[in-house]
Point group: D2
Chain length 423, copies 4
């Protein structure tokens, strides 16, 4: 069953079975470290399939191990968490759930980054690989990670003695759904996803009555001037040929229009591919934040707290080439593209680094194919809803089928001896 | 007892009694239309003093009427509501209370505008006037209003048939504590408090991943550019010799640093003294908000919703002069100053306008006297915490004594026949 | 002839004679300290009228003295300089002249502030007063000042020993044409024109190629951020009830679009009416300029050079009242209005201060009356071209007639004994 | 003499001879289309060397042709124009010259982009190639182009029938001095220099007096807001992985601090490598400029005039590989680096495109080697003066020697038959 001709039809069968599960996960998204329902579903399914399951690694992480004779150990990873976004897809399985976030605020929740696809596809790949266990030999690890979205879920699992609880793998494999045309797989060897650094910046003003700004230091104006100035980090201080992104994702100040608040809080996200660029961005951001506080006559220095730091994700070149060849056999050569580097970030690389083994991580197309081709042809990819958008909605098929098949194909490349000669 | 020599000592005695009440009110502030505890306290006290009390006018408003023979009808007004500000005064009676605001958010609450002083002083004045009821003749109305802070409390009471439920007065009197030196009274005849207009502005972006701004329309940048541009309304479009204040008191966008949100919300507060200026400010604000949305390539026009509109507060010149003379007799001429117009707003004028009678509304000094004098001498009044600041903390004495005495003095000016010849 | 009934017709006759002179002056404007042609015309005319004339006081200043028996000494003042503005009035006597300014640049020149009206009206008043010299007694001084527009012309004349060369007056009188309706006179006692402070600010960047901003510090961005931030001085740091204006009138940076320059130069103009406000504006401007340079990572501190400082112009209350009465007798009470304070500045007050005598300085209406009334009624005075606009074009009549008559009337108020009883 | 061992010593000898010429050219820079002295020097030297010389092609362009038997035709190109930059290198041969630019302004002039190196090196290469003419066979064209800096010099020569006046070449070769370490050569095959588009943008305000902004539309504020907003084109609208640079190189508004001007003029320079990015930048720039004018209430739409448009410079891959091999033989393999794409632009590609032949264009290191290595190691290349900086000063040696040798080596690669077998 594990020969190239059979993987796709089998994946299609399983994907059809799992479509209701996917819609259910989509309808009931959970924030970072709150993935109780999702983790429970994953654990139950793995147990039913015969995996030995450990729950609660890194709070809500779930790992299943299937020992199937001698041979390599392959780790397939999916992340589970959703985002505080209010869904506007109009889907009949759209989320209307809300949750309390880490700061205690009541927020809407949505699978706006497609982790529901990742969970479903990994469950499907586990089923497919169990179904053809006679064709391969080795150990299969299915890992469901919490809190990929800036929550440090991979680090939390590592800190919770992950590789003492489960075997150390020989390769780490995973995928992320993206606004590529559904059916396509995107694989870029070498540095592929950016490093992320996140900061919470508190700008201090002096509060007072909205009618008497002269007695205050207005933090809304201070925050606005800072945001405008921060645009110049990328536009003026980083070479056009280098890559850096600085996003002020959140800005919150004030409780009432006739009160001038005493502080504003900015949430900043920085992407980069090399240390020199990263350092320059952070150094410039810091300089600007302090200087703008001075321009306002702030009574206190601003506080800049680093809340997150992801390294660059590097796909091992040899393992990537090997995986790409396997994909080409199953999906056809023209379906496997090189999307170049992306500015997104991922902490899956930490699992491979901790294990000291190669990583291969690819993009799974989820966009309606014709819409993608039209957008690509006109250079207006902004016409497609991207990850984190309230409109992000992968088409279920062929996304799920290809997602199941891609994970299974990549795993079999390491686990199926018969595949090896073909490499 | 109502002669000038006795008002002050009697007020001091009552103020000392009421100081614990004041501290209790300060410690337990209530948001607009949620003043249940405060209203209950006011109603009970008025009943105990012999007033006929009506509760629940305009939701939480309370009015007591004391009929004491023939003569004029005088309305004394206090407002009761507090603000969503986190208190930082360090007082031992500081508030740590929180409440759910009208939008459903959990917010801190503080008497940052001194309405607790107003409530306490009116209860004290009621007691003082009851105590000397043999010396005057007429009808006394003590009115405790909800929701002065932009909530439309005066309008709500009027809409709830206020002047069918209680007699129409001959004059409306009231006071507001302010960062003048404690002991001072500030009274400005004519237009004295600004008109207020408040707006909630929703700016629309297009959401997406923080690493891919090119696929989004970033509402944080749009909001920041709008805030900076709105500064030019006052700096460039209003004559230096005219008065207008435009404050963006709140700015909220985004839930997470790595998500670009799809909208930002601004709370804007506008002050003005005449219609031409007011119209120009609103017209310019509207033009800028729409143009900035276009500059960002917003997918939808911004929405500008008027949430509040207070008229200019005008002190009747004759009634003001009469009140000023009475104050000078009790407090000394040099204690009654003309603070000029202030940019604050007040809806107390609506009560007088509805009744078709004169209004006299004055500022009650609440700042530590030496600090006030030092700040005044150096032109740096911004060294004093102003209304709506998390540090706003009137000194209890002589503020309460003067507050009680001022209300009583003004009322007696209309009610005490013996006072009349002296005018 | 100097009785109220005859002043106006006589002024009208003279104004008609002088209209060609006015058009000629308008067509040939001269920049500060370059008023050679204008000064020559003034000197020649005064000599022909019998004045004793001194030329070259303060470079191009001209003063004529007419001694006419015992009595007070009255100084009438006109300023002569034009502005580097390209005229766009479309008048048949519009200027197309150009000149080299103090920095060596070739610039267009225009009488965009109406000093041509002042010169013409003073020549006419001199003629009128000579014509009725039998009716008055005393000394008349006609002073033509250079460089009022920020050039320090009054100070230059004082420094050049003005009051050793001509008698010290008992009163200084003068007028400024303004976009009031023609026929109107505006006189405001007390502080009437703002203080001015001007600054040249040099912001330092680091130059380089337009394609490699990362190797530079871009002074255009620094200048833009500074300009936006400077708007907050008035919008946030000065009370709405105080008056301050901060204008960045000039901004120059760069020589070529593909070169990033190494500096930018801003010309800033500040208006205020009191020292506390003035100091706050300058302090805030200084703070912002330095902080914005830090935000850009400037290699050198910015330089802020004070280029000009005019005091507040204060009209002596008693002398103003006396002058107003005289105007009302000649023009009718309703033609003499109080325009309130204006944010314009004037150095004529320095002449009075130096002499230690009262000043009376009024606005002379120059706008087409119906246009003015329409603009006033709708609160859109910005529909009228204001001083310094390329479209500023006083209507010749009745502006010139009233200008001649007003100067003559005011002078006679001090010089004509017969007028005194009427005061 | 043309064997690899002899090119470098011969180039060194000639470079030493030409150093005074270089210093003289540096001291007397000439603006675009004003390169009369430089062109005269080039023409005379070529004639002395035996070239047939045509002057005045494209106004000031000079082309020399040396026919030396059968064989290929090679065109070596140097550009001659300098920039309106005030030199601050402190060199004893620094320029203090000034000139009148195309707009009539008097400006400083400096060889801030190193075209003086290009001219000198081409003269030296011509001498070297004449000296070894027995070793090669074919036709050598030495072309001295005017107005590379945005002036359209290449287009001007083409429009002036360049390839009717001189033979059509088989290859176009040239070089540009850059802040690489002196001794290094940088050659990038494929798209290597960015496309440039330049614009002059006129923003319209309404002029008036500096003290009455409310009657005006302030073009300085409009320009500042526009500059700040234009930063968001690169920071928010172009993917981090794409390359675009948008520089506002010039901003000019106003003549006097107390006059609000009626317009501001921006000079904008855009760099890009592909049409989709280019179109997006220009579309966004246009949208922002119009929207900001609306935000200010401009009386007229802004004008955006395209003043320049250079295509991407593409090095022919095969010809580049061939040239690189020749360089490696002469200079050593490690001296020839791939600098990647640069954001600078060049119109030399137009000559190759017009001729329909390959182009090879390389960077010539001009920075002091140790300073370069230190800057490179710390990632702070901004420590080195870059092209267009007032401090840009290539070290004369080994820059000139390598510049002469590189041009000669590349030419001989096509012209010297004996070299061919080694390819």
């Amino acid at each position: 069953m594990s020969n190239p001709e059979t993987v796709l039809p089998e994946a299609a069968r399983i994907a059809a079975e799992l479509a209701p599960t996917y819609r259910d996960l989509h309808k009931h998204p959970e924030l970072a470290f709150q993935e109780f329902r999702t983790a429970g579903l994953a654990a139950r399914t793995l147990m039913d399939l015969g995996f030995e399951v450990t729950e609660g690694i890194g709070q809500t992480g779930v790992v299943g191990v299937l020992s199937n004779g001698d041979g390599p150990t392959v780790l397939l990873r999916a992340d589970m968490d959703a985002l505080p976004v209010e869904e506007r897809t109009g889907l009949d399985y759209a989320s209307t759930d809300r949750a309390t976030d880490a700061s205690g605020a009541d927020v809407p929740v949505m699978h706006a980054c497609g982790h529901d696809v990742h969970v479903t596809a990994l469950l499907g790949a586990a089923e497919l690989l169990v179904g053809c266990r006679d064709d391969w030999s080795g150990t299969l690890i299915a890992l469901f990670q919490p809190a990929e979205e800036g929550g440090g879920g991979a680090q939390a699992m590592i800190d919770d003695a992950l590789f003492e609880k489960v075997p150390r793998p020989d390769v780490v494999l995973g995928q992320h759904v993206a606004p590529l045309g559904a059916g396509l797989i995107g694989l870029h060897p070498g540095p592929a996803f950016a490093a992320t650094d996140a900061f919470e910046i508190t700008l201090h003003g002096r509060g007072g009555h909205g009618s008497r700004p002269e007695l205050t230091v207005d933090p809304v104006v201070l925050a606005a001037a800072t945001v405008m100035r921060l645009q110049t980090v990328v536009s003026r201080e980083i070479a056009g040929t280098e890559t850096a992104v600085l996003t002020v994702g959140t800005l919150h100040a004030g409780t009432k229009n006739n009160i001038i608040a005493d502080h504003a809080i900015l949430g900043v996200n920085v992407r980069s591919y090399d240390t020199v660029t990263r350092d320059r961005v952070i150094e410039s951001m810091t300089r600007i934040v302090h200087a703008e506080a001075q321009a306002s006559g702030s009574p206190r220095e601003p506080e800049i707290v680093a809340t997150e730091s992801f390294p660059v994700l590097v796909n091992d070149p040899d393992a990537s080439a090997r995986t790409r060849t396997a994909f080409a056999r199953v999906f056809g050569d023209e379906q496997v593209i090189d999307p170049g580097v992306v500015t997104g970030s991922e902490d899956v690389g930490m699992l491979a680094t901790e294990a000291g083994v190669p990583l291969v991580y690819w993009l799974l197309g989820g966009a309606e194919l014709e819409a993608f081709q039209a957008a690509y042809a006109t250079g207006r990819l902004d016409a497609l809803p991207s990850n984190h958008s309230p409109l992000f909605a992968p088409v279920i098929e062929p996304t799920l089928t290809v997602g199941v098949a891609a994970l299974a194909t990549a795993a079999l490349e390491w686990l199926d001896e018969r595949a090896l000669p073909g490499v």
